[in-house]
């Protein structure tokens, strides 16, 4: 049993917090984990990604081979498309629907929409608006994690909730509650 996940977005959007929560849940469940991150220059408003591999057996490569990812979890719709060659034929894309436009040649709405529609399995939502409406604008990434929860599989939704609580515990109960609310919002999006 294994799960290969590509987390992606634009530098500063908080993809590593998603990885941290999933990783915490997986480690608690006794799964093996490898997670390759990007640091340094590319974090400055450029595209960023992290390879997260979970398994109940040994994991060799820190990187996910082409065509082997089960999930792409993206904080930005165009960034979700960047890693398609890594996604298996029946893989799922879970993404924010709201473009982050900080480049002059960002694709046109219609072209982006067509490309997303063509994906075999797509789950998307305007996570920023949802998080803002829930009173926690910084919780968009936890809405996205909630959307992905059912697809992660190797750890349960309850495990993820508990892990989220542990990760944010040092920031206080209010922050934990606000992030759990965002996570639960995400759970309801299918």
């Amino acid at each position: 049993m294994k799960k290969d996940i590509i987390l992606c977005g634009v530098g500063g959007q908080g993809i590593l917090s998603i990885a941290t929560v999933i990783g915490e849940a997986a480690t608690k469940e006794g799964l093996t984990l490898k997670q390759a991150e990007v640091h340094g220059m590319s974090q400055r408003g450029g595209d960023v990604q992290s390879n997260l591999r979970l398994s109940d057996g040994e994991i060799f490569s820190d990187l996910i081979p082409l065509g082997c990812a089960d999930l792409i979890i993206s904080m930005e719709p165009m960034e979700a498309l960047r890693y398609l060659p890594y996604l298996s034929k029946d893989g799922v894309v879970i993404t924010s629907s709201k473009p982050f436009v900080n480049i002059p040649n960002y694709p046109a709405d219609a072209a982006l929409e067509a490309a997303l529609q063509a994906l075999p399995k797509l789950v998307r939502a305007d996570i920023e608006t949802l998080a803002r409406e829930a009173g926690n604008p910084k919780g968009a990434n936890m809405v996205l994690l909630g959307m992905a929860a059912a697809h992660i599989g190797v750890v349960s939704t309850d495990d993820l909730r508990a892990a989220l609580g542990r990760i944010f515990a040092r920031k206080g109960e209010a922050i934990v509650a606000a992030n759990l609310q965002c996570f639960d919002l995400g759970l309801s999006i299918l």
Binding site: H39, L63, P65, L81, S88
Partner: protein, 533 residues
């Protein structure tokens, strides 16, 4: 994270000091030690150094005094500390020294792909090259002990994918005690020619011991193919030499595909001669899988006989440039991996860029405004966040070569007749390697304008302390730049008129001038404000 495992391994091995200059992908090692309670409790030295050379030399001093020292840098830092590093093999060590060189194949955050194993071979010192985060941790205790046993510094070669990848690591219950103070009495530290000749012979004599240690190392092992496996397993199965992290990709591929192979895992150098002999006895094709440059592949052409055909990055079995991936390694093994979705056609590149509100932006706006008036002028750049000024929308920079080269290249270009010749360099880069170049220019009063864009931190690597903060005007004046030609400005759109006027005036001054635009980095400012709340 691999870097964190390394840091913890060093602390648990009784480390007394880490000496480093920040550089991706090595920065987190020192940061981890700085934040660790055990380091604080024991008073382990962990303050950042001015550059890699001062780091290597200070570590050598700590070793002379009998204690264990760690030196950390990105691969190009090895160039900066090369003098001290190469000679540390001739002096030998007293307390153990581990030199961490974090290589960056694929140049994720670097200007070249140089392979630090070449440096170790050049200096004739052993290398440890871990494959997994667990090995990273385990190796630190062994590397320090080995360093003291053979009396040589040990190079720990990391690559980006291991440095910045996380996995669970089992750690020791108890940290070893640091060595007691026992300064060396050996005259071998005085490398006068007569002594250096004797020391060099000693170094040569140690080589046999190093090879024997590699042969017996638990990190090097020859794994025979599984019996009864499929294709490629006729009478002579494929032989693979997998170095460091390459082991992971080879294992991943062999797990997926129906290929059987005899794999020599190499994680300690010099190469284990006995195991190479075993490869030679079987003969046939030997695929060398190594991240970085074809160091081992080149060596094997000489080490193995005609019975073997050595293939790898040099022969095209693997790509000549770029990092290894599970995909290119699988392809080299002839294993067909599952196909993913086709690449999207609507993608646009998203290069990194300067943060909104960053002071470097205002510096480039001002420079571009003035330089428009001088189409023959050039702005020579340096290494840091502000290197992004080479990209749109600014496109200001004519060059970016190595730490400090902005000032010296501007000087050389000015000597050749380029006018105006402007250098732009960050605060941390200036103290790292820019000061000596400024002294050259000041001594000749070369007509260059040096912009020290001071954001009060080493920003590119995440905001580490910068060695010269609050000292820049004094440093420039002390190096011989006239005080009236050292200006400090605040890079903000509101001050554009003042800044452009000063740049214009100083360009027209026939000598060395320094302009210091000073405003805190947006990233560290945000963190400082959050802390205050």
């Amino acid at each position: 994270m691999g870097d964190e495992a390394l840091a913890l391994g060093a602390l648990h091995a009784g480390l007394s000091g880490v000496y480093a200059y920040p550089g991706t992908p090595s920065t987190e090692i020192t940061e981890f030690i700085q934040a660790h309670p055990l380091a604080q409790e024991r008073g382990v030295h962990s303050r950042w150094c001015t550059n890699e050379k001062t780091a290597m030399e200070a570590a050598l001093g700590m070793s002379y005094a009998g204690k264990r020292a760690l030196v950390c840098m990105k691969h190009v830092g090895m160039n900066v500390c090369a003098d001290a590093f190469v000679n540390s093999a001739v002096t030998g060590v007293n307390g153990g020294i581990v030199v961490v060189a974090a290589d960056d194949p694929s140049m994720h955050s670097s200007q070249n792909e140089q392979d630090s194993r070449f440096y170790a071979k050049f200096a004739m010192v052993p290398v440890f090259e871990p494959a997994t985060q667990q090995e990273v941790y385990d190796m630190m205790a062994d590397a320090f002990a080995f360093s003291e046993k053979v009396g040589l510094p040990v190079v720990m070669r990391m690559v980006t994918r291991l440095a910045h990848s996380r996995a669970a690591v089992a750690v020791a219950d108890k940290a070893a005690e640091p060595n007691a103070l026992h300064p060396s009495e050996d005259r071998g530290w005085v490398l006068l020619p007569a002594i250096a000749r004797r020391q060099y012979v000693k170094l040569i004599d140690k080589q046999k011991t190093l090879v024997e240690a590699s042969e017996q190392s638990a990190y090097n092992r020859l794994v025979e193919p599984k019996a009864g496996a499929g294709a490629g397993s006729e009478d002579k199965p494929l032989q693979i030499v997998a170095c460091g992290i390459a082991w992971n990709y080879v294992m991943e591929a062999l797990q997926c595909g129906q290929v059987s192979a005899r794999v020599l895992k190499v994680s300690q150098y010099p190469l284990p001669a006995a195991q190479l002999k075993a490869l030679d006895e079987q003969g046939g094709e030997v695929l060398v899988v190594e991240d970085g440059q074809p160091v081992v592949e080149e060596l094997l052409h000489a080490e193995l006989s005609d019975k073997c055909t050595v293939v790898g990055r040099l022969t095209g079995a693997l790509p000549r440039t770029g990092e290894l991936t599970p995909d290119n390694v699988a392809a080299a093994l002839g294993i067909v991996m599952p196909e993913g979705l086709p690449a999207s056609e609507v993608l646009a590149a998203r290069p990194p860029q300067l943060c909104p509100g960053c002071g470097h932006r205002d510096v480039y706006t001002a420079l571009n405004k003035v330089m428009e008036e001088y189409p023959d002028g050039r702005v020579f750049g340096d290494i840091g966040c502000y290197t992004l000024g080479a990209l749109p929308p600014f496109k200001t920079l004519a060059s970016c070569v190595d730490m400090g080269a902005s000032i010296t290249m501007a000087k050389g270009a000015a000597d050749a007749g380029v006018f105006p010749a402007v250098a732009i360099i960050g605060d941390s880069t200036f103290t790292h390697s820019g000061m000596t170049g400024l002294l050259d220019a000041a001594n000749e009063n070369t007509p260059i304008t040096v912009v020290i864009s001071d954001n009060l931190t080493t920003a590119m690597t995440g905001g580490q302390d910068s060695a010269g903060t609050s000292k820049f005007e004094a440093i420039c004046i002390a190096l011989g730049v006239p005080a009236e030609h050292v200006h400090v400005v605040v890079p903000l759109p509101a001050n554009m008129e003042e800044i452009t006027r000063i740049i214009r005036e100083e360009i027209n001054y026939k000598g060395v001038s320094v302009i210091i635009p000073r405003r805190e980095c947006m990233q560290t400012l945000r963190r400082h404000l959050a802390k205050k709340k």
